[in-house]
Symmetry: D2
Subunit: 414 residues, 4 copies
């Protein structure tokens, strides 16, 4: 893309994306926005401040002459994990920061937005434009996390609060299960240099695939109930050893936000406690559970290369859907729902692509240093901003984590 086009596009997109973050916290009170439900999750207010700190630290301070720090301590409070940038507040204690207030953080955001508007009105170099684009995708990542973290908080509250009480749960029927066959051979995966991508999606490279098949849709809640009824959570032979240990020590009996009432299963959603929809994709399951489910079905999880190769032709699906903020039943022909409802655990560890290099500078800490101990998820979920999804996207979490909209799609070798 020509630099002028890119800058113009950034100028157009910047404020709407930023505004959406603030919109997400509108239903929250000051406490909802401040509390940290677990060390993994962050307070909503922290997400709002951290994403602004990102622009301030990596874009404004080096590039906008005369830019004035908003507050001398905010760099310390809202740095997430960038060692090169300096000391930082302990992650597990983000919830202690009842000050600054939400209003003060929103003022901070406007301070940064105003400075960014000034910068975007000027000539910016390609490097700076790339950093701004990175900052916007970073903001979208945190929009998703903000919602998953709020749900994590509300799901622990016996009063079952809702982000929006009136949120409609998607209805409809899931497509009947079938296998979609995919030809093996040499495929190319990874970002081809067109369009935005995170560092870890590069370089594009060739992989060798055997013939394989993917399920036409994600595993549904109804299928998961069958797994539970068949003793899936009590059958050691289905599980990876670490998964079995985790399931015992954590007492897993069902997806993270499910609870039983009489004969029915309910789950905590952004709309509060709702009856589980058997047609919708199952969500909030760990890699270990996904792997055990696949074993129970005599199948396996797809590798990320299989997933991307199959998904590459499906990207027209992504563009114009409305996010429903809850997984919706996946219907239609062929591979469906790849980008829209739940992140899909793959069989692949999050490791560097052949030829991957960590970029220079502090943003080199963006992804590269997390390439151990995590599994790749592909696709996108009901809380992922649409413009933030793409076939090459590599999301990743530790295999025991269950607070994301994480589900699975079955695969098998032909």
């Amino acid at each position: 893309m020509a630099l002028d086009d890119l800058t113009e596009r950034l100028a157009t997109r910047f404020q709407p994306i930023r505004d959406r973050s603030a919109w997400l916290v509108e239903p929250l009170n000051e406490a909802d926005a401040a509390v940290q439900s677990t060390p993994d999750a962050s307070p909503a207010k922290w997400h709002l401040a951290h994403t602004s700190w990102f622009f301030e630290t990596f874009v404004l301070i080096p590039n906008l002459p005369g830019y004035c720090h908003f507050h001398p301590l905010f760099g310390y409070l809202f740095n997430s994990y960038y060692d090169a940038v300096g000391a930082r507040w302990t992650r597990s204690q983000r919830g202690l920061l009842t000050r600054p207030t939400l209003e003060e953080v929103l003022v901070y955001r406007r301070h940064v937005d105003n400075a960014m508007a000034e910068l975007l009105a000027s000539d910016v170099s390609r490097e700076v434009a790339a950093l701004i684009l990175l900052g916007l995708h970073h903001e979208q990542q945190h929009q998703e996390l903000l919602l998953t973290d709020i749900l994590s908080l509300f799901a622990r509250n016996p009063l079952c609060p809702a982000w929006h009480k009136e949120l409609a749960m998607p209805a409809g029927k899931a497509a009947a299960f079938c296998w979609v066959e995919c030809a093996g051979g040499i495929a190319e995966i990874g970002n081809d240099g067109k369009g935005f991508a995170f560092d870890c999606e590069t370089p594009r490279h060739r992989v060798l695939l055997q013939d394989y098949a993917l399920a036409n849709r994600a595993v549904t809640c109804g299928e998961w109930i069958d797994f539970m009824a068949d003793g899936g959570y009590r059958t050691a032979s289905l599980w990876l050893a670490d998964g079995w240990t985790a399931s015992i020590s954590e007492g897993w009996q069902c997806p993270a936000y499910w609870q039983r009432q009489g004969d029915d299963w309910y789950e905590m959603t952004l709309g509060g406690l709702r009856l589980v929809n058997r047609e919708a994709p199952v969500s909030q399951v760990s890699f270990y559970e996904a792997d055990a489910f696949a074993a129970w079905r005599g199948a396996r999880l797809p590798t990320e290369a299989e997933w991307e190769s199959a998904a590459a032709s499906q990207t027209q699906q992504i563009t114009n859907d409305d996010r429903t903020l809850a997984p919706k039943p996946q219907s239609g022909e062929g591979l469906t729902g790849l980008f829209t409802d739940v992140w899909e655990w793959t069989a692949s560890s999050f490791r560097p692509y052949p030829g991957f290099h960590i970029p220079p500078g502090a943003v080199g800490e963006y992804n590269g240093k997390f390439m151990s101990g995590q599994m790749v998820m592909r696709g996108g979920s009901c809380v992922t901003p649409s413009s933030h999804t793409r076939a090459t996207y590599r999301n990743f979490f530790q295999p025991e984590k269950r607070w994301q909209f994480s589900g699975l799609r079955l695969a098998r070798t032909l």
Copy 2:
């Protein structure tokens, strides 16, 4: 006291004491009132709700015909530790309850207050009157905890927020240190049946004391700085073994809320970060530190019997002071400041008095079951309501705890 008098007095005192709790949270925002700084501390909102639950559960439900539960889950959420009353929310997770909101809790308080007004306007038995009086002292205990817990939260925030920014720090000079000699012999301690007392202050009984002396005032911050300068925190021989282990593992170098800036020591107070006042009593130190300090001075901590015996004649001091919400320099003749600035660690473990019996019913869990692993503190602090102090009062905490206004007064055997 005649029952009519007692009831009338309760009716007069009830609402002012209840109102003070609500007044204490006025400077707080919704998040300040919801967050739990450590598992030991509770959110301010939780204190407000729990004290109301106490009246609802032990007074209203059994005694006010037609009383209507405010909310079916509040019993579960706001029970503290009463096994006999049923299941309860995990203590360490009180800070997850961003709902009910502070406003909803205040509505709950008014609901309870209205019902209590109705009850107090009726004939209440002596037993019920005793429970109401217990409830009011319980409320006052939580008023103190509410302030120590808010300070605990703010002291962990690098922005150093204040409960009230304009809070005046008490000034003046401490009295020169001297020993006040006390005659030994047989003394009586414990509640004599007149006036309110918690169960653990009974029965009144005789103890045998040797001749002893108490310091005329509490140890000051200036004296504590001398202890630090002399290597007190680095000299194992001054410390109890468990205390030394705790000081190493926790990295203790000074009282809990102190921090050094250049050559000066500052401390977090309810008025924010202030210069340490060398004349004021030291506070936020553990029993272990207090014991090591006493060893460094060649002295010891007083036993609770010594303390009470000496304090028994001093109670006129208590009545009409204004609490300053920060320890103030203790001046004057004789034993001074026994009830007004810091709780004073004693050498006594919190164990039952000879002849103590746990009262029947759920309130039997009030104190008796905590009689192991804790040390007695005596007196009262700058955040203790004046009408809540008395010479027989037995406060108690684990020996490593440092978040209360806890200091010490030296003693020695003559």
Copy 3:
């Protein structure tokens, strides 16, 4: 005692006491003597070496000219907790020391014994004689610990090994339960300067007692089975809060070394797995359990002053019994079994006596620094050397510990 008499008596007693330690490990193989069952317990070999290190460090090096260190690292390896003497091996890792071998440790013992014989043949000062006497009582303490620690190891082994397979379990009937009344008033407790005592037994001082009664004998296993059958381990209201928490988290259902087989209870003893003897005193119970049992019986534990005052006239019992290495049924008139079968938990925290001072020098760390967080046990057990018991003895352990021969005797206020 005149110094000559004392020295002569030491010369007579020294080697027999030392030899008994070595005799205790004769049934053990090299591994039995090396392994550490829990961080609380120590390997038998470590006990053998540490008691020798005590004589070497505190007696020989300062007082025997030309004494030659046995090994340059043994001071580091076998110091227990004396900060003043230097660095030391981590307590929880004593079991990693498969070298030195048991034989090497026995050679070390002979090296120390030979040097001690030389010293004892010379003129020793009263101070040195006192240290030697302390060393012998220290050795006897560790003889008891050696046996309790071996039992702790064997009790964790599904093969149920025995220290001596042929060890006879004491038989007979327990005396019928009755109360023995004791007059209150002013009593004296503590060491009177005659005979050996540890620092913590001093100074002798007056205490004021109310009239009280003690059970004629310790609680039996049969009575404990009744407690279990009545739901004692499932009734929160009987327990101290910390005790209840411990019982839940540790899963306590019976004394530490009991196990059920069909309808019968068995227990691990120094003679291997044996049927529980309902007539014998219950053992291996924590203070928390003892306290709950007393509550269940509507009684309480005695204070240490009550215990000592009652026991002071019973010391003739101690002298000439043979230790059976398992608690034996307590029969006879009046207070029986005070010193012979199980240590008896008291209601008293282990705190300094009025006027107590820590002795100068490294041996000042012997007891004083442990005076927090522990409860006093009185009497003596089936594995305590007879010459090591006395009415003033203050043994102490944390209230949750269960690996000693610890039981209880009921008390009540008259």
Copy 4:
């Protein structure tokens, strides 16, 4: 291989391999053989018993009519992790089993060996022969672990014991560092059905490689000292985030068994404490350290496919070397030392090969259930039996583990 040939070969190999296990413990005393240095390691005696239990459980009981269990509890005590076979003793408590004695375990071994001799003298099916072969490779795995675990124990002992004091440390010079270029393209890896392989080495399959280069030899101790001197352990930007966290919390400053004395580095070896040989491959480093070292050198670790593809032509190296029980300087032309000195960490997570299926039966738990959270190591070490190495071998450990003979070889993409 024809069944007769296989059976005959098993009959020839069986006892020598079994005897070597017993030979390995000859220098140990009863305690050395019983203690467990860390939860990861097992006692030598446990290895001896467990490998016998493997034959007893999977071979003898199902296939030798009239075979008589040696001991009813040994199945419980010596099962490692086979859920399908029944309950088992807790792994972290293997060191508590001072009984059975080493002699009893050796008797158990002879009991099993005698029964196996009887079975091997009969006609055995191909399935049984395969299980016996698996059992022998299993025994060889544990021979390696027995030595690494003994070293782990001795390395924690300040007395620095040796397995054999006279063990000669290999001398010589390492080859000068150079890159050996390897052509990319489609390669085949995995077992081709000839010769023994564990389940996880199958199925053989095609992979696509880019052109790459491997270092001619493993990284040496001298190079590691350079890394340390250049601040490698203090430079966060070289490390994976999890690795940096581990290095801080564990205090890593050098390989696991190194210690500094003055200006020199020493390391614990099976021959006791020896001067570090700068020419020998570095060992006892974690994946995290290996990865950071590679980053420091501007290189990377090889993938397991790259490693195997390059190593496939080198297997003639393996056969006739004598194991030196310490890494020896790697000299010679081309790729050298692939199988002989240290296991080499790769960049690959231990995940299933395309088309991998878990075998039926209890031995299906052999490898498959461990395919998460671990990194692949390739080659073989100075304590790996020669007949146990092969180019397709996939060894694996968690990335933070440091007690194996684990080093690294650099790689880069051309």
